[in-house]
């Protein structure tokens, strides 16, 4: 599944619903209401079916007890929560709100467009509504005698106002429930797509698939579609033509993908691979390993350390000021060091060196003789000879690989 699909899969919470004509919310009643399965473990698969993927459906069906089912449902929604920082589950709340709007037949006041008379809860309109919510624009175009009425739902991209998604509904036989127009069948066959909406469609449209001359009646319907102004809504007629072949401006996105179960929000976040770096390795428990964490006053995150430049370049640290990883009676620690020396008298002289130093010792030595100083020679006398004499600004960074505690400072040192 491509990354472009991620956005569509994210918890169906795409756009801020905007007012759609006739969108006055009605009280649910037995005459106009749409029957929707209850929010119970028994009704889970039916009520939230469009959000459940095949793997989850199979797993749910295998569950034996109500307790198992309830746990599954809890986990299902936790994974889809769009804001894990709040106690509410915004994703479920939004979906339940949409289900309420379907139950109350939100579009019932627009003749012919209610959920109830267009397949109800199982219809294509309800499916698109559950996944995407109220469209930014709902437009209807009448084809009079040439082509069937078309209803277009468009969803605007909140960033640029362009059309992010579009769902075109029609009555395939000129009557009955509104169904989604099968854009996949006509992706590269506009002539066939227009033929599909004709009141008297030609059954042999495939004969002009692939660039052949479009039959005259199809061409006439196309020209009428181009010039007709929608009787409801603000979509231009060109949007209807575009929606005959597309569901999104992402041209790789298929209608089936757009209407498939959304990927849980937590998984989208995971796929985008946000991560924290720098956490202390000590937090990852390893069997049989303990840690001696230094106990000096400033050692929760730092390492008190001294740098000396004499005949050699040396760093000094007390045993008890660094953290150790202990296995049995043996302790080890690893310090990573990076030093940059810049000659203050001659800017062109600049050198950097770094590396990793491993220390081993006994646990007893560290706990009983922690005050002992350890010296690390970074530049030996012969190496120092290669450096011109003078004053240097030393930028020093030292990190304990066991715990990620560190010391970093700049100091001026003189090479005699």
């Amino acid at each position: 599944m491509g990354s472009k699909w991620l956005a569509v899969l994210l918890c169906a919470a795409f756009l801020v619903p905007v007012a759609v004509s006739g969108g006055e919310k009605k009280k649910k009643n037995s005459e106009t209401g749409v029957a929707i399965p209850a929010d119970t473990p028994e009704g889970f698969l039916q009520r939230y079916g469009v959000f459940i993927n095949d793997k989850e459906r199979k797993a749910f069906k295998k569950l034996q007890t109500d307790m198992e089912r309830q746990q599954f449902i809890t986990d299902f929604w936790v994974r889809r929560d769009t804001d894990p920082n709040t106690p509410e589950n915004e994703c479920k709340d939004r979906i339940d709100e949409r289900l309420d709007e379907i139950a109350n037949d939100r579009f019932a006041s627009i003749p012919g467009l209610g959920f109830g008379i267009n397949g109800g809860f199982r219809g294509d309109m309800a499916k698109a509504y559950m996944l995407y919510g109220a469209p930014s624009d709902l437009s209807v175009i009448s084809g009079e005698r040439l082509f069937v009425d078309l209803m277009l739902w468009t969803y605007a991209d909140s960033e640029d106002g362009g059309t992010a998604y579009a769902f075109l509904f029609y009555q395939p036989s000129g009557s009955g429930s509104l169904k989604l127009f099968p854009t996949e069948l006509y992706r590269s066959n506009l002539c066939g797509a227009v033929n599909e909406i004709l009141r008297s469609k030609r059954q042999d449209y495939s004969s002009f698939f692939g660039g052949g001359q479009c039959p005259r009646e199809v061409d006439a319907a196309y020209r009428q579609l181009v010039t007709t102004i929608p009787r409801t809504g603000n979509a231009p007629s060109g949007a209807f033509i575009w929606a005959l072949q597309n569901v999104s401006r992402d041209t790789f996105l298929t209608q089936a993908q757009a209407l498939g179960p959304p990927l849980p929000a937590s998984e989208v976040a995971h796929r985008l691979a946000f991560r924290i770096s720098g956490e202390s390795p000590e937090h990852a428990a390893v069997a049989g390993v303990e840690y001696l964490m230094s106990a000096c006053a400033q050692c929760n995150s730092g390492i008190p350390i001294r740098c000396l430049l004499g005949s050699e370049f040396v760093l000094q640290v007390r045993r008890s000021d660094i953290d150790w990883q202990v296995t049995g009676t043996q302790a080890k620690s690893v310090l990573r060091v990076r030093v940059v020396l810049e000659n203050l008298d001659n800017n062109s002289v600049r050198t950097s060196f770094g590396g990793e130093i491993s220390f081993t010792n006994t646990k007893e030595n560290i706990t009983d003789h922690g005050e002992i100083l350890m010296g690390v020679v970074f530049l030996k006398a012969e190496d120092l000879q290669t450096l011109p004499t003078g004053r240097y600004r030393a930028s020093i960074y030292l990190r304990n690989a066991v715990s990620n505690k560190y010391a970093s400072w700049v100091e001026t040192i003189t090479r005699p």
Binding site: E159, I276, E279, S301, Y406, S408, W409
Partner: protein, 206 residues
């Protein structure tokens, strides 16, 4: 043993900074900086306190923590997160992860810089203004407190050559300086993750 003695004498050279335990917290924020478009470094905490006995006296305490970098391990495909709610949702998950990680490392931090000042009302403008010199303490790398009465602590971001491409520099930390003493709170370049292939495209990989 001589070195041990040196260390101890240095750490006793300057009086300890004030301890604001019991003072009112008036401000707390992360000590953070942006590394690039998708990575933020968290290196400590800044807390400002007010003396409950003297509402004109303040202390700002800088604490160092084990540094963390929060960010994306791979470049976000702009096309993958096209709508604002998707972006918000991903941000929410990132925020939760950050909060959990910061909560863990901020259980134990090290005070490394303290600034203390007093304010007074300006009789002409009625505004609160600084009264008297600012006192500053900075803990140097040896564990010794440096003190200044009146000298300003300088805080500035610093960068270093990017290891795979030394022609390029990356921001790695904040440097605190008080007189000759310096201390940096920083991240390791190892924590930085760049979009796949980017490192290879740049520099000689040295």
């Amino acid at each position: 043993m001589l070195l041990v003695a040196l260390l101890l004498s240095a750490s006793q050279a300057v009086a300890q900074p004030p301890d604001p335990t019991g003072w009112q917290v008036v401000l707390q924020k992360q000590l953070e900086f942006r590394v690039n478009d998708c990575q933020t470094a968290f290196v400590g905490l800044v807390t400002e306190y007010r003396n409950p006995q003297d509402s004109h006296e303040f202390v700002r305490v800088y604490r160092q923590q084990i540094a963390l970098v929060s960010g994306c391990a791979k470049e976000i495909n702009v096309g993958a997160v096209r709508d604002s709610e998707s972006v918000v949702s991903v941000f929410n998950y990132r925020q939760k992860k950050e909060r959990e990680a910061l909560g863990l490392v901020q259980k134990a931090t090290d005070v490394f810089a303290v600034v203390c000042w007093k304010t007074a009302e300006d009789s002409r403008s009625g505004q609160m203004i600084l009264a008297g010199p600012v006192q500053s303490w900075l803990l140097d790398q040896t564990g010794s407190w440096m003190f200044s009465d009146g000298q300003e602590m300088v805080i500035r971001p610093f960068s270093e050559p990017f290891i795979p491409d030394t022609e390029q520099r990356v921001p790695v930390g904040l440097q605190f300086a008080l007189g000759d003493a310096t201390r940096a709170v920083r991240i390791d370049q190892e924590y930085l993750v760049f979009p796949k292939g980017k490192n290879k495209e740049k520099g000689n990989g040295k």
